[in-house]
């Protein structure tokens, strides 16, 4: 089994960085089993192609604009994944979808994929998460742990 937990987001835009904050919490508190890699993807794209190739499971953690109250947890998997990227609910409108499309073209796409997210409250300038979103970081950490 080859699994990647990928947190994406921009740390200088408050709640936008929640995916990366979850990765930081996992790195700090939870040793990963063999075969599981944690990646702080930030807002990058093609740089990740190598590490995302030929995965059994890709778990993406991200801020997701689902039009729900701030702090609402969102889970997207299975057939919803492609449309998630088509409708661009994620602020990372171009980066990750391009990587996944390239992997598909190479025949190296993940066998299984789930996106765990939370509705952001604000994406203003700043390094801190808002309290509503920060409170969901431990919950997302548990969700990731249950997934791997």
């Amino acid at each position: 089994m080859k699994t990647v937990v990928l947190g994406i987001g921009n740390l200088i835009m408050q709640d936008e960085g929640v995916g990366v904050r979850v990765i930081e919490a996992l790195e700090r508190d939870h040793p990963m089993p063999a075969g599981v890699t944690l990646i702080d993807g930030g807002t990058s794209a093609m740089e990740m192609l190598d590490e995302l190739s030929d995965l059994d499971h890709l778990i993406v953690v991200d801020a997701i604009n689902a039009g729900k109250p701030p702090g609402t947890l969102v889970r997207i998997e299975g057939e919803e994944v492609p449309s998630f990227f088509r409708t661009r609910l994620s602020p990372h409108q171009i980066g990750l979808p391009d990587v996944l499309a390239s992997l598909e073209f190479l025949g190296a796409q993940p066998k299984k994929m789930v996106i765990l997210g939370v509705q952001p409250q604000t994406m203003e300038l700043g390094m801190e998460l808002t309290p509503l979103v920060a409170a969901q970081v431990p919950v997302l950490v548990d969700q990731v742990l249950a997934e791997i």
Binding site: M13, D40, S44, L49
Partner: protein, 567 residues
């Protein structure tokens, strides 16, 4: 007169809006507008200067390492801190590998689809494609079996109804001119480039301890420990792996990328006549070869009016000609300065004043930088022309090779003047990339030789004196001159300004109302179909737009996730 608005225009991060007035099938007037506010400068005020690089590398997902490099150089410049040779070489290897990665991805994955019609490749004859390819280059993966396999894969992909990564292309557009065979060849190399770019990223990853955000930098050097007998640090084994990837990259860049760009240039010779725009070119020297930043492997400087005989060099990290020449205007930008005149970055202010899009007033979140009051184009074209003017032999060699290949394919003599154009910017990027892969090899040798002498020093501890220090860190990044300007007061950041490449190129009109390089380059561009302004994309993409770092933050109008329509 018809007004076309394209928003956003970038295939990668950032939000760039381009407006053009079209009359008689030609662009008559253009506006380039950055649609997001950047405020990383505000976050940095009051912080420890040693931490700035970890924050600035979050400005942009594509250009992480370049902001990290410029930031540590700015603080080192303020302290006049020397950087150990090993640290320079390791940084240089990261800089070069990142640039090679960026250039390959830009050409094949972010802009080739402006020129290559992937669906046309389905009609190609694989045998003819292979013989064409083999006539151009000795690359090992140009054979007919390779071409057949790629065509099969494409058939399955498109046949399955998945255009996937190719969805946004303008298939069948009248401005698409390549034969099915050339389209198939380019598609094959597109796939091979996906593989090869990984090797460049592996170099960054090994030396930088992690990608996409490197961890090994420090103000004063790098955190890599060097030992020839340990597994956890930079070992002989890891250095040998790096050398292997360098060789593979060199093979691809010289035998595939450079040749492909020349071929596209030859088949689209018209595009040497469009996209010229601003011909004042600015770049900085890079790849420092001493601890003080006075000797550089790659020269830099300024060329005014496209006349390479008037090249003026920039000489070192303390060069005053460089540091005194830069100013930024906000006359047409959504900011206010206390006084209504351009400001030097040390005195720079970041005070937003959003007014909506006003074609004759303020219309962009980008400021408008100038060099001694003149608008300047930055990027690989500026870099190649300056290095050429400075007599840099490898640059001359690869520029000549590229132009000779174009000339023989186009059956007409094409000289260096052709580089002042849309297609010329692509050619210059490929030439620069070839120079960079050779330089990777040189820096690898320099590092190994220096370690061989017994030098394992990688870090000089910074000391912050009381009072105020100012410094600028510059870096010739993949998109051009990047500079970070820092004012430190009693060990804390007092002011921080980033003047990034895409600000130079994508800026709005300046204090004298002169258009920026993007805006100027679009004048007289042909537009075959206003509904599908592919030609505008060609010219703008030739600059490798990435304005996430030029401007970054959520949309001010609705203050939430920006919804965009794909172009």
């Amino acid at each position: 007169m018809a007004r076309i608005t394209i928003d956003p225009i970038t295939r990668i991060e950032g939000h760039l809006r381009i407006d053009v007035d079209v009359e008689g099938g030609r662009v008559k007037k253009a506006w380039s507008s950055g649609q997001m506010f950047r405020g990383v400068e505000l976050i940095l005020q009051g912080r420890d200067p040693r931490d700035a690089w970890t924050i600035t590398q979050r400005i942009c997902g594509v250009c992480t390492t370049v902001h990290a490099i410029a930031s540590v150089r700015a603080v080192e410049n303020a302290l006049q801190l020397e950087v150990p040779l090993n640290a320079q070489y390791i940084r240089n290897l990261i800089i070069l590998a990142h640039a090679v990665h960026d250039h390959i991805v830009h050409f094949y994955h972010l802009s080739a689809l402006d020129w290559v019609d992937v669906t046309s490749a389905l009609k190609a004859d694989p045998d003819k494609t292979a013989s064409l390819a083999e006539s151009l280059s000795s690359w090992k993966l140009n054979g007919k079996h390779e071409m057949k396999a790629v065509q099969e894969r494409l058939k399955n992909f498109v046949g399955g109804g998945q255009l996937g990564i190719f969805t946004n292309g303008y298939w069948g557009h009248p401005a698409m001119k390549l034969s099915p065979e050339v389209n198939l060849l380019a598609t094959a190399h597109y796939l091979q480039a996906l593989e090869i770019q990984r090797k460049a990223n592996k170099i960054v990853s090994i030396l930088g301890s992690k990608t996409p955000h490197i961890q090994n930098l420090a103000v004063g050097g790098v955190a890599n420990a060097i030992a020839t007998d340990s597994q956890s640090v930079l070992t002989v084994e890891r250095l040998m792996a790096v050398k292997g990837w360098i060789d593979e990259l060199a093979d691809f860049v010289k035998n595939v990328y450079l040749i492909d760009v020349a071929a596209v240039g030859a088949f689209y010779a018209d595009w040497t006549k469009y996209g010229k725009g601003v011909t004042n070119y600015l770049c900085v020297p890079d790849i420092p070869m001493d601890t003080k930043g006075t000797q550089f492997a790659l020269p830099g400087g300024y060329i005014e009016g496209g006349d390479i005989s008037k090249f003026k060099p920039i000489k070192g990290f303390n060069d005053e000609y460089w540091a005194k020449g830069v100013e930024e205007s906000v006359k047409h930008s959504w900011y206010d300065y206390d006084e209504k005149k351009p400001l030097h970055p040390y005195a720079g202010e970041t005070k937003p004043n959003y007014t909506d899009f006003q074609a004759d007033g303020k219309y962009s979140w980008l400021k408008s930088p100038t060099f001694y009051g003149k608008v300047a184009q930055v990027g690989p074209l500026a870099n190649v022309l300056c290095m050429y003017a400075a007599g840099h032999e490898p640059t001359r060699k690869y520029a000549t090779l590229a132009l000779d290949t174009v000339s023989s394919l186009a059956k007409t003599k094409v000289g260096i003047d052709a580089l002042h154009s849309t297609i010329g910017r692509h050619a210059a990027r490929a030439v620069r990339c070839a120079v960079m892969v050779d330089m990777l090899d040189e820096q690898w040798n320099a590092l190994v030789t220096n370690i061989g002498k017994g030098d394992t020093k990688t870090f000089n501890r910074p000391v912050f004196p009381k009072g105020e220090q100012m410094g600028v860190g510059y870096h010739e990044a993949p998109r051009g001159v990047l500079s970070h300007w820092v004012v430190i007061d009693n060990g804390k950041i007092k002011n921080y300004q980033c003047v990034v490449p895409s600000t130079w190129n994508a800026c709005p009109r300046n204090e004298k109302d002169e258009p920026g390089p993007y805006e100027a380059s679009l004048l007289d561009n042909p537009i075959a179909n206003p509904e599908q302004p592919l030609e505008v994309l060609r010219t703008i993409h030739s600059f490798d737009p990435c304005i996430a770092c030029a401007i970054h933050l959520s949309d001010k109008e609705n203050d939430q996730v920006v919804t965009v329509k794909a172009v």
